[in-house]
Amino acid sequence: MESNSDKTSQINEVTSPWYRSAVTTAIVCAVFSLIVLTLFVINYIQFRIINTNWEIQSLNLKKEFGQNLDDEQLLSKIRQLDLEFRQYRIRRLDFSRKGGYLLLGSVVIMLIAIKSADTFKKKLPAPQVLSNKDNEQLLHAKFARWAVAAGLAVLGSGALILAMGTDIDFGRTKVLISTSYPSLEQINKNWPGFRGPEGLGISAYTNVPDSWNGKSNEGILWKTKIPLQGNNSPVVWEDRVFLSGGNQNELKVFCFNAISGKLLWAGEIASPHLKSDEEPFEVMEDTGFASPTVVTDGRRVYAIFVTGDIGSFDFNGKSVWTRSLGIPDSSYGYASSLAIYRNLVLIQFDQGGPEDGISRMIALDGLTGQTVWETKRPVPNSWSSPIVTKIGDQFQLITCGDPWVIAYDPAKGTELWRVKCLYGDVAPSPVYANGLIFAVEPDARLIAIRADGQGDVTETHIAWDNDEWGPNICSPVSNGELVFLLASEGLLACYKNSDGTKLYEHDLRENFMASPSLVGDKLYLLTEKGVMLIIQAGPEYKELTKCELGEKCYASPAFVDGRIYIRGLENLYCIGNNASE
C-alpha cells in the first residue's frame, strides 16, 4: 500500500508545478470571465432602464418647456440630458464590442488551462464492474421503449395544448353567420329601413290617414321628444319605432313604443372618434352626426353614423356589437342609409375622391358584425342609399355613385351589371318599378335602366333618359306606370315609365328634404315646414289635401298599418285614426 501511494505521490510531484499553474490560470480566467459576464449583464439591464428613463424624462422636460418657452435653464437641461444619453449610448456600444472580445479571450484561455491541467494529470481508463450483465441490455431496451413513449406523450400533450388556443376561421364561406332572418313577407309588412321594405318609398298599406292637424292635435296619436337630433327617418317594426341621433359627444339609437310613443330605451355607441379630450369632430351642420337611417331585421336594429361607427342593438336595447369602419372621407359628411338582405347589413361606404379607390360596399353579418363580404367600388364619395329589391327571381342590390349605377348580388357582393350614367354629388337613391331602375343624375336628368343586364351595359340597357332636370336630394318614386321626381326647391314632375315622356311639371312653391312616398294612388310629399301635401298619383297634377304638423321636418315618413310616423326636428309624431287602435 505504501509503495502505491509513494508511486502516486511521486507521479504527483513530477507533474505538480505545471499542473498547479494550469489550475491557477484556469481559476483566474474563470473569475475574470465571470466578472466580464456580470458587467455585460449589468450593462444590458442598465441600458434598458436608462433608455426608458431618458425617454420619459426627456418627454416631460419638453412638455414643461413647451409651456415656459423662455426658461433658458430648462432648455440647457434638455440639451445636457440629450448629450449625456448620446455619449452613454456610444460608450455602451464600445463596451459591448470590446467586452465581447475580452470575454471570448478569457474563456478560451480558461479552457486551454483546464485542458492542460487534464493532460498533466491523466486518468487511467477504469471501466466499472458490470453488475447484472445479462439483464442490463434487456432493461435498457425496455427503458428505451418507455423513454420514446414518454417523448411521444410529451409531443401529444403539447399538440393538444396548442390545439386549444384561439381558433380563427376566416374563410369567406365559413364565417359564423346567423341563420335567422326575416321572410320577405315580414319585411313587407313593416317599414324596416329608409323608404320602406325595398327602399322604393311605397307604402304597403292604403289605410293610412289622409288628414291631420298637428297644431290642434287632431289625428295625432302621440308626440314624443327625441333626445338627440338627426336627419334620419323613422323605422318601424311591429310595435317598435327606431331612430338615431347624435352630437359631438354621443351617438345614440332610440327605441319608442309604436303604440304608446314611450321612449323604451336609448342605446349608445361608443365611438373612438368622439373623445372628449381631443379636437371635436367637425361635420357639416346640414348633415349632422346621424344622417343615415337605421335598419332592422326584426331581431336587431343597426345604425351607422357620420364617424363611420356602426353598431347593433337587440330589441331590448342591449348592444350586440359595435364596429368602427374608419372615418369615411365624405365632403358633406357620410349620409348613406343602411340596407338589409337576409342576415346581412349592407353599407354603401363611399368615400374619397375619384382616383382614391377607397369606396366599398360592405356586408356585415347581423348577428356578429363580422365582415361577410366587401367589394371595392369605383366611385368617389356619394350620399345615395342602396336598395335591395327583388327583380325577377333574384334579389339585386342597386347602388348609385359618380359615374356608375352598379347592381350587386347582395349575398356575395359580386357585380351583376353596371351602367355609366351619373355625374356629380349623387344623393338621390335609385328605385325599381316594372323592370326598370330609375336613377337620378343630380341637377341633370332621370335615367331609366333595364334591370336584366350583365356586366357593363351602358351602351345597351339605358331604356331612356330625360335630361330636362333632376333633383339633387329627393329620391324618385314610381307606381310602375308613372315615375315622379321632386326637387328640393318644389318642382314636381311626372313621367311615363315606358318611354320617359313628361306628363306634367308643377311648382309646389315649397322646399323639400324628405323624399316622396306613394300610398295607393296618392303621393305623400312632406315639406320642410312639416306640411304633408297629398297629391293624386296620376297623369295630371291634382292636389288632394294639405296636413299641417306644426314642426319642421327633414326626414322621410314611415307608413305602417293605419299609421304614419313622421320625424320632426325635435319630436316624433305618430299619425293615426283612433278607430284603428
Binding site: P127, A147, G156, T371
Partner: protein, 431 residues
C-alpha cells in the same frame, strides 16, 4: 400668431391619407446658383462572390483531411487541431453562416418555392458533408462543423448518458428536422437559423434569448458531450442515416478487438456499442410477440401522427407572417381587439382587399394541412422505427463504434491497447 405646427399638422392630415410610403416630391428640387454638385449616395458592396468559392473549397479540403485523419492517420491530436481550425474559420471567420445545417432549409425552400434558387455555395455546403458521410462516416461532425467544435472544446467532465435516455432524447431531433422542413417548405421561417444557439457566439452579437439558450447549452456541454449534435441537430439525422451505409467505417482499432473493456468509458457521446448478450430463453418468445405488435403499430402511429400534424394547421400556419396578419386583421374587423398593430396599419394603408389576404392565408393554411401530414407521418415513422430497432436482438461480439452515432472524434483510439500496440509497432517499424 400662426404656429408652424398647425400648418404642418394640416399638411399631415392631407399627406397621411396617402400613406407613409407613397411620397411625391412635395418640395421641388432646388436650383443651385453656387455650382453645388449633388453628392452621391454611397453603396458599399457586400462580400465578393470569390469568397463563396473559397469557402466551398476550404470545406472540401477540410472534409478530405478529416476523412484522412479519422480513417487513416487515426490521431486524436490531429483531429483536434483540424477541429480548432474549423471553429476559427467556419465559426468565427465566416460567422457560422451559412452552415450545412441551415442549408437544409434553403434546399427545401428551393424545391417548393419556384421563385427561389439556391446559391452554388449553399448547395455544395449541403451536399458535400452528406457525400462524405456516405463514403467515410460522420467526418463532418468530427472536425469540420463549427457548432460541434465549440461543444467539443468545452467538454471537460464528461458524464455518460444512459442509452435508453439517449434514444428518447434523440426523438426531439427528428421532430426538429420535420418542423424545420415544414416551415422552410411553406416559406414561413428558417427555424434552424432562428434558434441556432451558437451563432451568437461566433458573431459576438445576437438576440438575448438565443444568447441565453446558447450559454445554457454550452454549460451543459461541459458535462454532457455535444448535446446539440446528439439531441437537436436536424442535419445530424441525415448524416446518421447516410453514415450507416458508409463504405469505410470508423473503428476503434483496425486490428482485432480483444474485449478488454478499456474503451467502455472512453466515448463521451455514448457511441460505443458493447458486445451483445444472449437474452434469456423466455425473452425470445416475448420479443417476437412484442416485435409483431410494434410492426403493426408502426403504420397506425404514422397515420395518427400525420393526422395530428395536419389538424394542427391552424397553429402551425401562424408561423407564416401572412397568416398572422390575416388573423390580426380579422380580429380587428370583427371588433374582438381594440388596438391596431404596425403590421395591420401597414396592411390597411396599402389598400389591398382583406378578402385577398384571407384567401392567401387560407392557401397557406392548406399547405400546412398537407405538410402537416408529412410532418406527423415522418415523426410517427421515426418513433415507430425506434421502438422496433430497440427491441431487436443484434449479434455483436466486439466493441464497435456505432455506425450512426459515432462522431469520429477519435478519443477512443488511445484507450485501446491493440491500437497503442499497433501505433508503437508502426513507429518502430524497421526502415
Amino acid at each position: 400668431m400662426i404656429r408652424i405646427g398647425y400648418i404642418i399638422i394640416g399638411i399631415a392630415v392631407l399627406c397621411l391619407s396617402s400613406g407613409v410610403a407613397s411620397a411625391l416630391e412635395r418640395f421641388p428640387p432646388p436650383e443651385f446658383e453656387s455650382g453645388y454638385e449633388f453628392p452621391s449616395t454611397t453603396t458599399p458592396h457586400p462580400q465578393q462572390d470569390i469568397y463563396e468559392y473559397i469557402d466551398t473549397f476550404v470545406l472540401l479540403a477540410a472534409l478530405g483531411i478529416s476523412s484522412y485523419l479519422v480513417l487513416k492517420k487515426r490521431s486524436r491530436r490531429a483531429i483536434f487541431i483540424l477541429m480548432v481550425f474549423s471553429l476559427l474559420y467556419f465559426g468565427f471567420w465566416r460567422k457560422g453562416c451559412v452552415c450545412p445545417i441551415g442549408a437544409t432549409q434553403n434546399i427545401v425552400l428551393s424545391i417548393f418555392d419556384h421563385s427561389y434558387a439556391v446559391p452554388v455555395a449553399i448547395a455544395f455546403f449541403f451536399l458535400l458533408p452528406l457525400v462524405f458521410a456516405l463514403f467515410f462516416g460522420r467526418v463532418f461532425c468530427a472536425a469540420v462543423c463549427p457548432l460541434g467544435a465549440i461543444q467539443d472544446l468545452v467538454l471537460l467532465r464528461p458524464v455518460s448518458v444512459p442509452n435508453w435516455l439517449e434514444s428518447g432524447l434523440r426523438m426531439f431531433a427528428y421532430v426538429y428536422l420535420a418542423a424545420a422542413v415544414l416551415f422552410a417548405a411553406t416559406g414561413s421561417a428558417f427555424l434552424i437559423c432562428r434558434y441556432d444557439p451558437f451563432v451568437a457566439f461566433f458573431r459576438l452579437n445576437g438576440n438575448l434569448n438565443v444568447l441565453i439558450i446558447g450559454t445554457c447549452l454550452l454549460l451543459i456541454s461541459v458535462f454532457i458531450g455535444r448535446p446539440y449534435c446528439r439531441f437537436i441537430c436536424p442535419y445530424g439525422i441525415l448524416l446518421r442515416q447516410l453514415s450507416r451505409l458508409s463504405k469505410w467505417r470508423v473503428t476503434i482499432t483496425p486490428d482485432e478487438c480483444i474485449q478488454c473493456r478499456l474503451c467502455e468509458d472512453s466515448c463521451p457521446y455514448g457511441a460505443i456499442r458493447r458486445p451483445s448478450v444472449n437474452w434469456p430463453a423466455t425473452e425470445y418468445g416475448r420479443g417476437k410477440k412484442r416485435l409483431a405488435v410494434l410492426l403493426v403499430l408502426l403504420p397506425i402511429l404514422m397515420i395518427l401522427c400525420g393526422w395530428s400534424g395536419s389538424s394542427l394547421r391552424k397553429v402551425t400556419s401562424r408561423m407564416h407572417p401572412t397568416v398572422r396578419l390575416a388573423e390580426r386583421i380579422y380580429l380587428e374587423d370583427a371588433g374582438k381587439v381594440e388596438d391596431t398593430t404596425d403590421a395591420s396599419l401597414a396592411f390597411r394603408a396599402t389598400g389591398k382587399e382583406t378578402g385577398t389576404l384571407y384567401e392567401e392565408a387560407l392557401n397557406i393554411r392548406a399547405n400546412f394541412g398537407l405538410g402537416g401530414w408529412f410532418f406527423g407521418g415522418f415523426v410517427g415513422l421515426m418513433i415507430g422505427l425506434k421502438l422496433i430497432t430497440v427491441s431487436i436482438w443484434r449479434q455483436r461480439t466486439d466493441y464497435e463504434a456505432g455506425r450512426a452515432s459515432c462522431l469520429a472524434c477519435g478519443r477512443c483510439f488511445r484507450y485501446c491497447p491493440m491500437e497503442r500496440a499497433r501505433l508503437k509497432k508502426t513507429k518502430e517499424a524497421p526502415v
